[in-house]
Symmetry: C2
Subunit: 366 residues, 2 copies
DNA sequence: TTGTAAGCGTTATCAA
DNA sequence: TTGATAACGCTTACAA
């Protein structure tokens, strides 16, 4: 079926060179090691070694080889190399959502480090769907990526696919939404402390009844953040019944309606802690459908990496994760693991990078 | 500032790993075609053909092979395959900015299509930097990706690197920020008409002096959008001198100051058309540093794919590009090109997908 | 219908 | 210091 991809009939290498020189910029593709070697009247192995700066090759030869390689625009075939060396120079990033500042920043952080080391980034979006996540993971079982950085979907409770991946020996790092059952390194923010502080802040601002908005109880971040919230409520001496845990879904409109109903209910909250950004935004939308005013009738604080939290009305008090740094740290660790020959496995540990709370109008009485 | 967080070592790491390795079903990784064939007492070629559903293989053999492949968890080595077939099943996406709803949506659209066809996505962020763009493109010269979808950086004026890529025969599609000099297919929105309409809308709302905010004059979108704006101004019978073209930069704070100075100047505009979202946001920030009120003193319309344009204060009138669709269309075209054996080259054409204007409070007198 | 063998472009081993 | 050769895992003529 698919014909051999050779573009030039391999007639004579000198001719090839002339062609290249005669048509500057025209189809100077497909020079491989063998052809480059022929042009230099050297063996492929010598040329390979020269290009890889082997100690066995004389400086003079190296110079000649490199200059000819540049002249002919030689580019090593990455697949031949991957096949031979059993590594892809590629890292896979698996996230639940692409239209999300937090994840975008993390990926920027990862790329910032990996690019310096010649790694490429495959990016996959699970759309918060476990089935998609499983498919994606199964695609990564065959060595296409040297390592994986991921944040699990909110649907993920069965983690057998991740266990399998890990057991295969693929270096795997979790960030934000982690899988504590998988013995590897995880990067998170200080979820407990942040929500504890955030809740306390709401209480200090006079809130008597605070609702906690979450995506899914399965999520590691939900659990930790919920804990921080509950402990702060308890610490304030409020009864446990004043805890109001609202589980939202993936459908934005439904979430808005759910929150609106909550806000119109008898026993409505006067404070909200949104455990993820999108639920804060849904709350803003919901409030617009009521007569409530923020922050007077309702105060809100949310995890968020929006750059425009200050432009919302009222401006949003945020718990901001150091997303870029988290990405960088994940990448640094992986690079270390991948580039040292006999590096031990990634430690089963959780590394915490603290978030920063920025108080804005949404929690401060006008 | 963001110091290293606490580390919580988990003690039983080593033990756990060993346990896993002792599990009978675990670590069945690395089963290759040869081993699978040996297990089946068949030749590798037969197994390969069976797995690829070749007509030459009996139904019975196929069944046996497939079931054994599943049992042993056989995963073909993608690099061996890529090397052999001279294709990577990978598409590269090159964008100038990752923390950007428009580009994120486009990538989601691309992924939506390519995933169905078994393609993987390498994503690269140029950070609006031509030099980075050139480096990235040079990395894609060696066949690592079967095709490239890209939007150029705002610094890109010399396009020799893109010409070279195209001449190498790598299928290349531009979207949004295109290179008209490269004879391939481009997807854009109706930039001219949208800005024409947008400007007219501002004029209808009573604006007498409208400023046009742009990133770089080199950008294709800048040129087209500027044209639409200028023509609308002229059509309204205003002098050309009432055109106010403001070239912004990559530094957000500088942009805010630039716009604030503009708003405080003698001859300040009463309307703004922001050719990209970030400049609209910079304008909102700038306005906060003045005593001006929107929309009364200043009306603004902007290209934007923010989902929360309605939550800004005032809510932002937007020109929204069909980003997801654009991504899908790029991908569909590429898939067609890549999967048909002798598909002709991508046509040198510009395909336009219309944007949608949503009028909100930022342009409607209170 | 199945098997044998060549080859994709590298790198590594061994020999010269 | 350099060259010949094998090997990575797969697909596909060609043979049987």
């Amino acid at each position: 079926m698919s014909g051999r991809g050779r573009i030039f009939p391999n007639l004579c290498n000198l001719k090839l060179t002339r062609q290249i020189q005669n048509y500057p910029g025209a189809m100077n593709s497909g020079v491989n090691l063998k052809e480059l070697a022929a042009e230099l009247k050297l063996s492929p192995s010598t040329v390979s070694r020269a290009l890889n700066d082997s100690y066995e090759i004389s400086a003079e030869t190296k110079k000649k080889v490199i200059s000819m390689a540049e002249k002919l625009n030689y580019q090593p075939n990455p697949f031949a190399r991957s096949l031979r060396e059993n590594k892809s120079k590629t890292i896979a990033v698996v996230i639940p959502e692409r239209i999300n500042n937090f994840f975008a920043q993390v990926i920027d952080g990862i790329e910032h480090i990996t690019q310096q080391h010649g790694y490429h980034l495959l990016v996959y979006n699970t759309h918060e769907d476990v089935d998609k996540e499983k498919k994606i993971i199964s695609l990564l079982l065959n060595g296409r990526a040297d390592a994986i950085v991921m944040s699990v979907s909110s649907q993920t409770s069965d983690v057998s696919h991740l266990e399998r991946l890990h057991e295969r020996g693929v270096p795997l790092i979790f960030f934000d939404r982690i899988c504590s059952g998988i013995p590897t390194t995880k990067f998170i923010t200080n979820d407990y402390e942040s929500t504890f502080e955030g809740t306390r802040h709401l209480l200090q601002q006079g809130c008597k009844k605070i609702a906690f908005l979450m995506l899914s109880k399965e999520l590691s971040i939900t659990k930790e953040r919920l804990r921080g919230y509950q402990d702060a409520i308890r610490e304030a001496g409020l009864e446990s019944e004043s805890c109001l845990n609202i589980t939202c879904c993936q459908n934005e409109e439904k979430n808005i309606e759910l929150i609106r109903d909550l806000l119109l209910s008898e026993n409505r909250p006067d404070g909200i802690l949104a455990s993820v950004e999108k639920l804060a935004l849904a709350t803003y939308q919901a409030v617009k459908r009521t007569n409530l005013r923020m922050p007077d009738d309702l105060k809100i604080i949310s995890f968020s990496n929006m750059n425009i939290a200050g432009l919302l009305n009222p401006s949003l008090t945020t718990i901001t994760q150091p997303a870029f740094t988290i990405g960088e740290e994940c990448a640094k660790l992986l690079i270390r693991k991948l580039t040292r020959p006999k590096q031990p496995d990634l430690l089963n540990q959780v590394i915490t990078v603290p978030s920063k709370i920025t108080i804005r109008s949404s929690t401060v009485a006008g």
